[in-house]
């Protein structure tokens, strides 16, 4: 069951110069969403945007009737959303798309996230924690302040390891430098982030025979499976909004769309 719900912005927290965590009130979405799913957000008309923009659910607190979105400003839509005043209302269509699935009991979950790609994993980590599962979380970013929500994952007791391209925090380099160590033993990988990173992680996982769920981003028109604007190539074009956004990484033919955005 999906709905187009009014959600009220109750709190905005700046995480870096261009990223914010936005907390919204909507009892329906807070309890209906599953980790990995997303919502299509429509801003007040005055913002002058036409299409909705897709955002992963970052966190859910059903008891407080709240959910949050992690927003990185990359263009008009993300900027307008990140700058909404507290108390503003937006329309959120959701919950949409596929979900992360729990790792088999013998598999240790390893989460790999680049930048804002960490968004869907806070809710997922809570679900893992609720099932008494530990996870390793590999965070990558250009610089220290791109390692969003690091403390939240640490507070959940997850094994958090970081890499920055400028070496300002954790290992120097891309997040892939952390993967080799993390793949020891039976592992289930989860990833989200920039396409080049996902391609790299998928190659490594395939070489090692590691199961790998990946959350993909595409431009989206409807989020409902109708416009066919959001496709991803498997053995044919499938819809990121409906068959995804979470896919089995082995099903994706990465060389078919290197520049999908």
């Amino acid at each position: 069951m999906r709905r187009d719900e009014k959600a009220t912005l109750v709190e905005r927290r700046a995480l870096s110069p261009d990223a914010s965590l936005l907390c919204f009130r909507s009892s329906f979405l807070a309890s209906a969403l599953r980790p990995g799913q997303f919502t299509m957000v429509r801003l007040p008309e005055a913002e002058g945007l036409l299409l909705r923009r897709p955002y992963s659910f970052c966190d859910a607190e059903p008891d407080r009737e709240q959910f949050s979105l992690l927003v990185k400003e990359v263009g008009r839509g993300t900027r307008a959303l990140a700058r909404l005043p507290e108390g503003a209302e937006v329309d959120c269509l959701g919950p949409l798309g596929s979900t992360f699935t729990m790792p088999a009991p013998e598999h240790r979950p390893v989460i790999v996230a680049g930048g804002v790609g960490i968004a869907p994993f806070l809710a997922f980590s809570r679900a893992l924690r609720a099932a008494e599962r530990d996870a390793t979380v590999l965070l990558g970013g250009r610089t220290a302040h791109d390692l969003y929500l690091r403390e939240e994952f640490e507070a959940l007791g997850m094994d958090v390891r970081c890499a920055t391209e400028d070496g300002s925090f954790g290992e120097k380099g891309r997040v892939s430098v952390l993967i080799d160590d993390a793949l020891a033993g039976p592992v289930q990988l989860y990833s989200c982030g920039p396409t080049p990173m996902l391609v790299k992680v998928a190659e490594l996982a395939r070489e090692r025979g590691v199961a790998h769920q990946v959350s993909l981003e595409r431009r989206m028109g409807c989020g409902m499976g109708c416009c066919l604007g959001c496709v991803v190539y498997t053995s044919e074009y499938v819809r990121c909004c409906s068959e995804g956004p979470v896919f089995d990484a082995d099903s994706i033919q990465w060389d078919r769309d290197r520049h999908p955005l």
Binding site: M1, R2, R3, D4, R42, L49, L50, L51, R52, D91, L93, R218, R219, M220, G221, C222, G223, M224, G225, C226, C227, L228, G229, C230, V231, V232, E236, Y237, R256, D257, H259, P260, L261
Partner: protein, 305 residues
Amino acid sequence: MTKPDLSVTIAGIHFRTPLIAASGTFGYGTEYLDVVDYSAIGGIVVKGLYLEPREGCAPPRIWETPSGMLNAIGLQEVGIEKFVTEKMPRLCELDTSVLVNICGSSLEEYAELARILDDVDGVSGIEMNISCPNVHEGGILFGCDPNMAARVTEAVKKKTSLPVIPKLSPNVTDITAVAREVEAAGADALSVMNTIPAMAIDVETRRPRLKNIIGGLSGPAIRPIAVRLVYQTANAVQIPVIGIGGIASHEDALEFLLAGASAVQIGTMGFVDPSVWRKTLDGLEDYCRRHAVAAISELTGAVET
């Protein structure tokens, strides 16, 4: 005052409301079931179909522009056979009229699709997308040449007793020439209009926003052009016209009706606001009451010039 009659009949097809879902924007009809109030929808035009399934264009396929969007989906579709066996039974369960939008690379392909659809239960009519390249004529679009548009209409008419509704392209010098030719060839009604060819470029990377380079522009940005084309078309032919282009509200729908349309289709704005159907229908009903209009069909062509 009694409840105004919002239903319309076009080429013998009854639509319980004058709001029809536009081809390519409402999938195969059932995708929006949990979110949209289907009772406000008078008919559904399904995604364009060829005989065989098609892969479509490489992404990126869409881009937002001021008050509009560009798309180059490349007619990704499931093919007629899968449509008939898997999609049509589910469409039949909806209490709404179903128009099947057909495409072809040749006259023969259009004709064969029409022949197949003639026997399919639940199909109310055929909308012909004539903005498709004709492979036998160097890829020129059927709809850009009045003569070719007429020939393909005639070929389809021969194979079916269903109402046939060519969907005209705005990308022509004189839409009334195409409209008159397809009317003479037997068209039962006309859909006006398809998207406008357009382009956008990312100046940082210097790459086109769409992989296909050129796409079709839709949404409110194109509405005044569509209203003008509906006005000109409706004045040129006797058959009914269905107005399409950027409709977002009952005022927009009314503009098309007054310009000469008998019903309208909504596409892009359904992506933006799934409640556009209910809001637009309620707005039309309220307008009819305020203006003492007993039946919405009275408004067709009622613009005072």
